[in-house]
């Protein structure tokens, strides 16, 4: 296996997807602000999409299904980003901060 032919193997795409997923989980735990956690969540979603596309290319019987599923993941990610940002803006208006340490109190 040559390093220049890595793009022809399923395993290299699976490793890229695993890297994106684990970097996203790491960022979710490490980030202290809501927008930073949102950015890390986008990494997790793109790791899942890369895995779907890799299986779609190499072992799926019908190669249109993975592409359709990845399109749905993109739609869900766009909706998730819009909702999360409006929640973040509402939190910022009430607390004047989006740091997760400052917004730890509950109030009815």
């Amino acid at each position: 296996m040559n390093i220049l032919t890595l793009g022809n193997f399923l395993g290299s795409y699976l490793i890229i997807g695993a890297f994106l997923f684990s970097m996203g989980i790491y960022g979710l735990l490490r980030r202290r602000s809501l927008i930073g956690m949102l950015i890390a969540a986008e990494l997790v979603l793109s790791g899942a999409s890369v895995n779907f596309m890799a299986f779609n290319r190499f072992i799926a019987p019908n190669p249109a299904v993975g592409q359709i599923f990845t399109l749905f993941i993109m739609g869900i990610a766009a909706a998730e980003a819009a909702i999360a940002l409006s929640i973040i803006l509402a939190v910022y208006r009430n607390y004047r901060s989006i740091d997760t340490a400052d917004i730890a109190d509950l109030e009815g």
Binding site: L4, S33, I39, A40, R57, F58, I83, S86, I88, A101
Partner: protein
């Protein structure tokens, strides 16, 4: 098979490695910079590399959609969020941050190791291909076999738009009162 560097396969391999480098550096920037505006630039780089992966996985349509939706829309949306919420630069010192960083490294490392082992060990078997990769097949199946999911995601997007507008409005009224 051992292509030379300057053949067509060799050059496409170099481009592939370039996209892999974009993904790795972009993900590292997105999780490690202190200023969020730099993190979002790293996310855009990383998603550019993911679009290149889609191109290598025989789907130029999804590569363009990735650029259009993620880099063009989601990243710009998050930049607007950063502008409106003006977050402070992240503090990296402190006991809680140390603990979170260590737990994050351990959990991320374990997940990465497990997934890589699974990718190597599992006996992935290719099945007989019945369809094709064309955009025409994607469009036909999107409106026949998967039309229910298509309608559902339209409703989800509509609810998300209305909900985000309502949430942003409510916060404004409460801060005035």
């Amino acid at each position: 098979m051992n292509p030379s560097l300057f053949s067509a396969e060799g050059l496409s391999g170099v481009v592939f490695l370039g996209f892999v480098g974009l993904i790795a550096s972009g993900a590292l920037i997105a999780t490690h910079t202190q200023r969020l505006i730099r993190a979002i630039s790293g996310l855009a780089l990383c998603l550019l590399g993911v679009a290149g992966m889609y191109y290598f996985l025989l789907s130029p349509f999804l590569a363009l959609m990735e650029l259009l939706i993620y880099v063009g829309a989601v990243c710009v949306l998050i930049v607007f969020g950063i502008m409106l919420a003006e977050p402070k630069p992240e503090q990296t010192v402190g006991k809680l941050n140390m603990v979170a960083g260590v737990v994050g490294v351990i959990l991320g490392g374990v997940l990465f190791w497990g997934l890589v082992r699974l990718a190597q060990v599992a006996p992935w078997q290719a099945s007989a291909v019945t369809g094709d990769f064309s955009l025409e097949a994607v469009g036909t199946q999107l409106l026949t076999s998967y039309s229910m999911v298509f309608e559902l995601i339209s409703i989800v997007l509509l609810v998300a738009i209305i909900g985000s507008v309502a949430l942003a409005r409510m916060g404004r009224e409460r801060s005035k009162a």
